[in-house]
Symmetry: D2
Subunit: 347 residues, 4 copies
């Protein structure tokens, strides 16, 4: 009953098999191998983006920070949600990779940036001149840090505001697969066709060992990204083992299959939480994460039964008796895990 | 016949098996798992350094840059060899991670920093005051970029100079295993007992998929390293898969066994090069790399036969007819590979 | 009738005379001259801080950014007010000088950081671990960006919270003179005796040509500050001309005399605004700045009459008919200027 | 008898008068005043560069570092002489402002970069790929750190090499006036017409209090420079006092008059050194600096007589009895100073 995070899970057998298969003989290092080229091609196909640049790295923080370093300079502002991973959980990686750009924090329900607030903030800072730092980019997370999905329509709205203020648009897609699976959207329609310039396309949380694809739909950014990946130490020498993982995920739509399963398990859990007295969802469970406000007693019971999950920053609904928690479902969560958890919560 | 680099090789079966074995169930992410603790312990044992901090990362550039970021500030100078990997091959990673420290390039035969030159340079810059940047650290590579080994005696001399000038001492040990195997030294005697403060302990080139251990013998540096690893995106979430690799290398002395084999193959090659007319070694083949000056004809013959290897920056012995080349032997190089190469060179 | 900013004013005659007097013969450059030593001593005397380090620079942004660069690392958080100059008006200077530290924005009336919010935020981020960046420092502005004064009591409260969370305390004192004059406090009692570690002590806005003193009460920080000043290009070669300005301000208490005058003019203006129909103060006019909500008609009349002043970010009291404005009084503002302005506003 | 540096001199009376004249009434801050616009225009006229962007700052290190920050990214290499001020005397300012670009040190007599060495180095690093960092810019100093002048022909040669390798060309002109005066060149012919993209045009060493003009002949760089000046704290608020200085220097050709005088005094000194037994010039005295190898006895005599000057890094001609020294002449050096010095050296 581990609902702590999708990065507490292991590696999907198909990915592991791909790693073993890639371990044959000598190949060129640093991404000069055929498997890397093939994996990049697969990403371009999946995203229907034949001109895109694709770079693989081992962590989501690296993917985000390299994207942002490519997008802006140190005198720019990046608009993101106040709960964005790049603000709360990356120890200043965006600042390191951009040379000190500012993250300007936006409100918005469920981690979804409020479009009006963004429009006002971008306009305000543009008017502040040199001293105010230049509005440079938007970074949004899909699915969000509260498990919500950006639809093509929502993205179009944000993107239009961004274009009006000359902002590049980055999507932190550590759980992009869950967003696509959860909305049944075409990958292209929620990325470049919706105005996304740069995508961090996550693999690690979706059954890989450690791989994320940086995708630059805007080819002018590609050279910068190459240099930034190299100088930040994120160009792996035995690169075939990154590529093998992503290739395996793309192959036969495995990435969507795994994400759909995780989403389904979260949907099941969300539904069964009705049976836990006093519990209610903090946010709609759009994808593979369930945020719930539950009685402290229920929390205690579940932990005593061995369930692993995190308390989460409050949404203002907490009292002495109630607590906000997060349950994450992964590619390997089972229906039994879900029912065991619910049973434990119910006592 | 691939002598291009030890990172063109694949992963040793024992490491691959360890990755598979580590893929069981749920564990805490970001290094909070038991296997990580065990692997760190094994590194401390091997180095006889019970107080050392150990941090695993996926690339050698990351290991070096994080070490240097922990050691110095942006207003410092780092003294390194003019052919040091951190200067020639990391795209400014040390500068990024240190906030702009300067690499001051030292001469020295075979990549071994000349002690007198170092002493003079450190003294000179210390005398230049604020403007000259503060002498802060030495970074040396073992084995060097020209395949040479720093012995305990040589290290003691460099370290004494460093202490006199209040310089921290970093060792880029991307091929540390080859240095230890090649000198039959105790690991401790060529690291902390010789005055080394920070070690990049390489695994990738020695049969791993992608793992290096950062070792801080000076515990005051540990907190800085933790933060720098995190904010540079080098704390892997499914961290057990880094730890598993290093654990497997340490287990039963596999790391030394593999390095010894690679060194033996290089020794064999160095010896057989005598039979290639006109060829001679550019440097003694102390470990697993052979640098040779060979006739251009021989080079052409070997390439035609399918041998893979790199031309190397000249040592000043090149003419129209002669070229300097590098042959790297790895854990999987065979005697047959060596004899095939020599045969091809001889024509 | 220029109430635009105290940096639109010229230089006080005594400062200009000091510059001319300093222009005699040859002296050592880069601060090695006797006048610099004397000026540093005067600052230490005025602050009753015999052990403090004093460094002169030409701009307030430099003073703030060098202080913060000395105080924290790139993986730290600096807590400041959401309207702090370092956030709104310095184009990311703190981020550049610290290597990318985060500014975490605090609410609080009148630019005064809310102590409870600070306590919660520091505690929250300390609990977030590596990813959350380390709480490192507080930066507050005295007088604040809304013209308010931090009293010794208020500082003691903030400082106690800071110590509890191991935060260094920086004071942006671009208008420190106005704060001291406005509260009749001893300079020491609102700086080091109240827990301030680093002070940006402004001269430019108070009659100088361009000089600020960085004061490090914590001597461990001094070496870092020296290097940061040098490498940011803020160590002036003909340094005597910075020192002469600050010496002249300190001499005979000129700095307080000028600040008191500016404060008095602001007090007069605040009082006379009663006579402007519909106008009211947005904040108490503690020092030399008056923030007022005035009818748009009054604004138009004043501008037509040639008055110079800035609209200010809204306090939420704006309507179509009302606007928030800032009037700044300087060392050279006259009673006539004030009455002319009020007359123009009244129409 | 102060020959220590031209920044030990005071301010020329005309500059001081201009500062007093500028101290009238209220003007817009941060460069929005009429005098700033006029001073910028005068620089454009003097350089015959009507499209150039001009930004004033208070120090030479700021001018150089802002130029380089505008020219390159952190993953670039800047080629400069091994004795370049940006390498030896700015505490890593270029690295801070560029985000960690590398300075690659070139040999060359008298501080003049050897063109062949530059060509080879730029070609070599371009061939090293990502890891080697990208060749991005050349920075040369005119007059050089050894008092030599770059002629239009020499600049054309360097510039042609630079263009071939796609390098921007920056000129550190802390003593640009001395270079122009010493070569009787048109300012345009040794800057933009010779391929210079960015100029640090010095005023401080040439009679000002503290002002340098950054000139961007390449207008695409201007926006970057504006932001970098601001965020490094180098946009002075009472900006008219920078502009007044530069305007006064430009007015009536004062800058060239002062430089010509300093050069003449250096010429006189160089000539009279013939009379000092055992002394000889280390470099031709092209402009206002005289580098000489003199007997230690002569040095001792001169210092006993109160002469101020610096020992200089050896040119390899030093022995126990001989020492290399630098004598700098300024706008206020007199013939009597020169003859007093020579007399003291002779004993």
């Amino acid at each position: 009953m581990n609902f702590g995070s999708d990065n507490c899970s292991g590696v999907h057998p198909a990915v592991m098999a791909a790693l073993m298969a890639a371990n044959e003989g000598y190949v060129a290092s640093y991404g000069g191998d055929a498997l890397t080229a093939a994996a990049e091609d697969r990403v371009r196909e999946v995203l229907d983006a034949p001109e895109a640049s694709v770079l693989f790295v081992a962590t989501g923080t690296a993917a985000n920070a390299i994207c942002l370093g490519g997008a802006v300079n140190g005198w720019d502002r990046i608009f993101c949600h106040e709960d964005a991973h790049i603000e709360t959980s990356e120890c200043g990686a965006p600042e390191l990779f951009t040379g000190g750009a500012k993250l300007t924090l936006m409100p918005g329900d469920g981690g979804l940036i409020d479009p009006d607030a963004l429009d006002r903030a971008a306009g305000f800072w543009a008017g502040e001149g040199l001293g105010g730092s230049r509005p440079g980019a938007i970074s949004l997370t899909n699915t969000t840090e509260w498990g919500r999905i950006w639809t093509a329509e929502m993205l179009a709205e944000i993107s239009a505001i961004g274009k009006q203020h000359q902002l590049l648009l980055h999507m932190d897609g550590a759980r992009f697969a869950n967003a696509v699976a959860g909305s049944d959207a075409e990958p292209a329609s929620v990325t470049h066709r919706a105005g996304v310039d740069l995508l961090s396309f996550g693999g690690t949380k979706n059954g890989a060992m450690g791989v994320e694809a940086i995708v630059a739909f805007n080819p002018e950014l590609a050279a910068r990204l190459d240099y930034i990946r190299k100088r930040s130490g994120h160009l792996l020498s035995k690169h075939r083992f990154l590529s093998a993982q992503f290739y395996a995920l793309m192959e036969g739509g495995l990435w969507l299959e795994l994400a759909r399963h995780a989403n389904d398990m979260a949907g099941l859990l969300a539904q069964q939480l009705d049976a836990v007295e006093g519990a209610h969802l903090a946010q709609p469970a759009d994808a593979n994460q369930v945020f719930a406000v539950i009685p402290v007693d229920a929390e205690d019971r579940a932990r005593s039964a061995g369930a692993v999950f995190h308390k989460w920053a409050s949404l203002g609904e907490e009292t002495e008796d109630m607590v906000t928690v997060r349950f994450v479902c992964g590619w390997n969560t089972t229906e039994e895990d879900v029912s065991d958890l619910v049973e434990a919560l119910r006592g």
